[in-house]
Subunit: 240 residues, 8 copies
């Protein structure tokens, strides 16, 4: 894709908001669902040019291959298959680590894609991310190690991803003194099986200090956790 | 209420099924909601005469007082206020203990009424009932004692009553080798707050070995648990 | 699949809980939906090595063929096509019959897959299973034989599988003195046709002594029934 | 209420359709919910003057007393308390029996009000009505007598009223060669307890030859059954 | 398919109820959704042998071709493509006309498949069927001719099929003195677009004398209408 | 209420937006539900002082009496009881007629309150309002006169208020060349009876040129119709 | 397609209503979903012959190509791919501009198809249409230019298309003195993600002067806006 | 209430978890709904004795007066009427300010009770709280001042409370670089009017960096915001 092609595609359908990271602390990302590979590529290209890097979410493997083809070869581009995220950056772009730190837990193996989306989103914002997968409530002993690490490493926020009955975030929130962001997933079956059971459970949970995002919204959870972590780091820096 | 009055009231609206205990293992009970005190009294009177005793559920305190007044003074009648149950028996009736044993757990203090309804129903069926209240998942350490007792006393089935996010039955089921009957309650607020969240969670739960009854159905859970416990006892008796 | 391959696959996404049968009375099973054939094979392999045997549910025919290919040839592996279950065991594993006995009824021919899932699950737990299919309420005379058998054979629990209006479990429960576990299926159409009508009916049913599992959850119903049956047998053994 | 008062009240809010019985075979009735006693009285007065008689449904006892007071004393007025219906007629009006015959069954004692509304509506249309109450599926043996009567008396249509899981109409339809009209009632609790479970079950029912009306719509069911019965009678008369 | 093949297939999954027509006035039909062509053929074969003819509904075109292949060539078999129904009969079977007469209206062109299913079902039961399609409420003048025909031909019942907002049955019911059976269809879009809007409208309709069946249930509506029409005819015959 | 009292009350909870009429063409109104009489009075007082007049909706009769008491006696205040609206104006305020003209139809007598709310709102905006009540689809002949008047008087928009199955707006829209605004009301019962059936029907309606507002939102419909009518008048004025 | 072919196809399934434009101000359009290419072509052909032109909505690209093939080559036919609309006209047909003017805003790039459907519908009715796409609330500064244009160009109505949380119409309505028609789209995910969130938001919106159509109903919104705009123009013409 | 009385009441129904503040960063609070005044008093008494202070939420005014009567007179007790919260503390307890700072915005005057609950909860946790009420999106200019204050005062988190269409949190999140916690309220009417519209909108919102709590859950939002604010302060302290 040449620069003029990119411009032409963009003009037909979109208005970029590359000031968003500055204004809100979270960069604009490309939601790939329902977009063609050239559209995704054009948006990533334009954003990366302005901001240095760009992230697309919900990119199917086959689309990802096409997008990679369309992007300039000198860009650094990587695709996270389970998380279906695609990150690209200008050759001169140096990713900055903010020093912020978060943790992400996933209840079942089917919840990993959403957790990985959250992870990539937080990393793009400069945070370090600890991950603990397959630690659902059916075997609560598996939570011991993650909780110890969360406490020791002093993470600023914890993202907990769970489908089915969605009980994990409440349990985690009950044992760590850190804000928890629950992400219900569309993993389940029968009554409440498209994520409603998990969403409802998390909203009903008796554990204050926990908030939620919509079903499967790994990006929203990861960026919010990173926003909190980055604020903690900035506050320290500001006061030093 | 005289015998003829009782007969006359009954004839206008109901057909008793006093063979039900024999046929299904669980006696017919009077669901008091939407019935007048004389109707409830007439039904209890007729059932107690045939079977020896009778149980009414969902009896509001004021109605209960009226029903007690209507029943023959020589009957033994007692009202469980939190559980809103009313039990009456003929003077010559000897309650039989079957030797069956079950446990009932309630997650929050607001779940106690439903738990008590389950307890009375199981006791009427001759079972011994262990109760553990206010043991919700927010403070999981509070579960230690109940679980030890359940294991030590070798109960045949456990009823777990929970509203809000309804996570307790799954957690309990994950640590005891006994069938668990979950009872969602209509305790909650906002999205899913009339018991749907709890019901959905229990149905979605990844813990096999757990089944559920409808929201607030303490009677159904208590009688099913007692049915299981009584079968265990009968089996032993039959093989001895 | 070689042992090292199996280990490598497992490490990337799952933590086995092979103590579960001991702790809860029901062995861990592999829920195949959303997993690849190598993942399913790796999990079955590892579980069978530890426990002697392993069960996977919701395995599509084509996936099943692949999984069978991946498993060691010396394992005994069998696939139940209507029930979509796959069972494998170490060559030295001797299946143990516990002596527990249950019955499974299916209302319509479309409900058979869920019933078969329940059957395999209960058999894996060592129970004997009586099945009666296509005995829906539209022709109630077809229930006579099954009920007689249930009473004569003294089964410990009955699983009743039904879609559409889901009336069969209530009717069965009204005529046998045994706990009934209702399994609503996603068979139906129009309003309430994805299993909600059947689920609601079973939860509303006026028949105490009946509990339910989620829509299409044959595994949950079969294991719970087997858990009850096995407890009855253990109780007898313990008292002898 | 004098004639001028009646006229004045009517003019402020309603337009009567006293030709409806002629056009559609079912007379206009007054749905009393949300209307004041004077409004109900004025409507009944005007309809009875034109047509000879008039029916109001959903009249609360206290309102009924007021309406009776407002109507001319020479009118014949009667109130059916369980059914909450009020019928009035001009002194010169002779109710005509059409010879049509229907049956009404109610599953539980709480379903009787809806059944009585259906009964009065069908009687107002000149039909003979057989009623059988408290014959729910929990004790199916109670259905034997009603079914025999239905077959012997050759009724033209059967109305079956049921709340909770709403299984009775399907069962009845499966054993009588007569169209069945199911009326779900708002009797129930928890999930599906406002009549949705009963409505869904009836719509899902595998029994062709059964149709339904909305929850608690006794009037709609009674009038439809009477319309069918009257058509049968007219057809016979026409061919004689 | 040979006779032994047919028997073998049937034995594995189904129990026929060929007495149903006698008991309930409506013959058993084969609901083809979810069944294989050999299963459908075996069921049709067996039913036609016993009863003379047999009907299958919801048969996709490609499945229909396979079923026709499997059935004995000497049977008379015909497939109604829009209605997706398949009727077969023994060579010696003489279809009997009962003399019953019904009408079927469809609101839009997309509602025709459901209307055709109703039509075939009623014809199989021996009724004459008048059809009027594309007569929706958006152009009410198109109703004039159908209504005149309905009145002149003295049909016993009218089936009205409508999707979207489902207003047609109420309008029709308001102008003909005949029972109306409303069939909501799954034609629509957005909020309420899977037939819920049409179903709700019909249930809420202020027009008494109208009942409904579930979404897309042409078979249920057609057979009920035919049951009414046949009863009218029988009544006349009985009295002559 | 003195001026200082009014100010003090306002300061504690509200920020007026008295420029709204200028900016959007519709004045700010006070939604009284959930507000105390002094709060409503203070808001009306402040708005009337700035703008000349003010309107409150959903004012219960008893609250209305209190509000009237609190308002300055020299204000002109009137309460529309069926519509539960309260209008007040400064003594020097001259209501201006814009010349805009709309029509409002109500299907049933129970829909009149919502229709009256719409009427008052449109009148406050200076429009002339034609009303036609109790003209539901059950007696379509009652529509003839209203439609003639609508066409003759050349109204700019029509508001159609209907509960139950909500069919009236579609029917009206099909016969007048004027934009129709449908207002579903919460009049109904059973499935869809809180206004969902009416709302769904209107949204599904096949009649383009019709839009809707939320259930019972007479104010929204009346002001939108008046906005359209006033624009037509302004356009004429602007071009003259 | 020859004329006789067209006639034959039409006769089998549809009745045209080519007087609709005259009666209601909006021409009949062909809703292509669920229709075959020959059916669509036949309908367009017949309508264009009578009225001069014809519009089909929801035409998939591949179907569109087939329809174009079937239509007479001398007709002027054009397909709008994003909007999936197809317009055809007789060679002698002169499109008339009414002078009416509306604006259409789309919140996100995924909402453009629905916006384009609205645009084509309004243009077919002779209106001029201003479009502003990708102006969602996340970057409210992007609204400045559109609002200025709307005010300056004096449009008669504004269509605002938005999915996800659907907030744009309310915001727009709060700053322009013009009626706003909100169109929720089925763009979204998780809870409320099929357009329910957007629809609910728009119905709940506190902004009077806004009405809505069903999810994805661009045609309904575009035609209603054009109807308003054309009325304004006619009013001016009438008064000149 | 004497100490022994308090102990006796507590023993009958509750198990306190006074370690919760230490373990999770948020103290246990008493949810008063469904509890009697003596129960609330006993819980507050016990908690305040252990921890120094205690908070009850959802305390109705009349209950509050009774609770105040029951608590020791030497305790400092205050009731926030709009927020329905009750705070009590031991005479020797010194409230500690942590230095954390948050902001709370409420869209409408009816949302203030929920906002006040959030405020009291955050203050109890030692935070300073800026409040801005009645700043809904209908008059977006009213947001200018709050946003400036939020930026200048460098708050750590913002709670935004909104009912109806719930758009405010997204708008706020789009203009401040701070995590936003949305609280939907049950303020609304018609479709989605019990808070579902607001909840759905917030979950669908395109603004990352925003999370939500359940409908009306002011306590959950206030404590989460305070938890974040306190972590920021602790982080600074820890690094100094």
């Amino acid at each position: 894709m040449t620069k003029p092609e990119q411009t032409r595609i963009l003009e037909t359908f979109a208005r970029l908001d590359h000031e968003r990271a500055h204004r809100t602390g979270i960069p604009e990302a490309v939601f790939a669902e329902g977009k063609t590979a050239p559209q995704i590529a054009a948006l990533l290209y334009a954003l990366a040019e302005k901001v240095g890097y760009a992230l697309a979410t919900r990119v199917q493997p086959m689309t990802a291959a096409q997008v990679v083809d369309e992007l300039p070869k000198i860009f650094n581009t990587s695709y996270n298959q389970p998380g279906r995220t695609l990150v690209t950056s200008r050759p001169d772009y140096e990713p900055k680590s903010t020093g912020g730190k978060i943790a992400i837990l996933a209840a079942g193996t089917s919840d990993i894609p959403v957790a990985e989306e959250a992870k990539v989103a937080a990393e793009v914002m400069g945070c370090e991310v600890l991950t603990f997968y397959d630690v659902g409530v059916a075997g609560i002993h598996r939570l011991v190690q993650p909780v110890e690490d969360i406490l020791k490493q002093d993470v600023a926020a914890v993202v907990v991803v769970a489908g089915m009955e969605g009980a994990l975030p409440s349990v985690v929130r009950g044992i760590v003194p850190v804000p928890v962001i629950g992400v219900p997933t569309s993993i389940g079956y029968g009554y409440g099986g498209k994520g409603e059971a998990a969403l409802m459970s998390m909203l009903q949970s008796c554990a204050p200090g926990m908030t939620v995002v919509n079903i499967d919204n790994g990006f929203g959870a990861g960026t919010t956790a990173a926003l909190i972590a980055n604020r903690v780091v900035q506050a320290i820096a500001g006061k030093r």
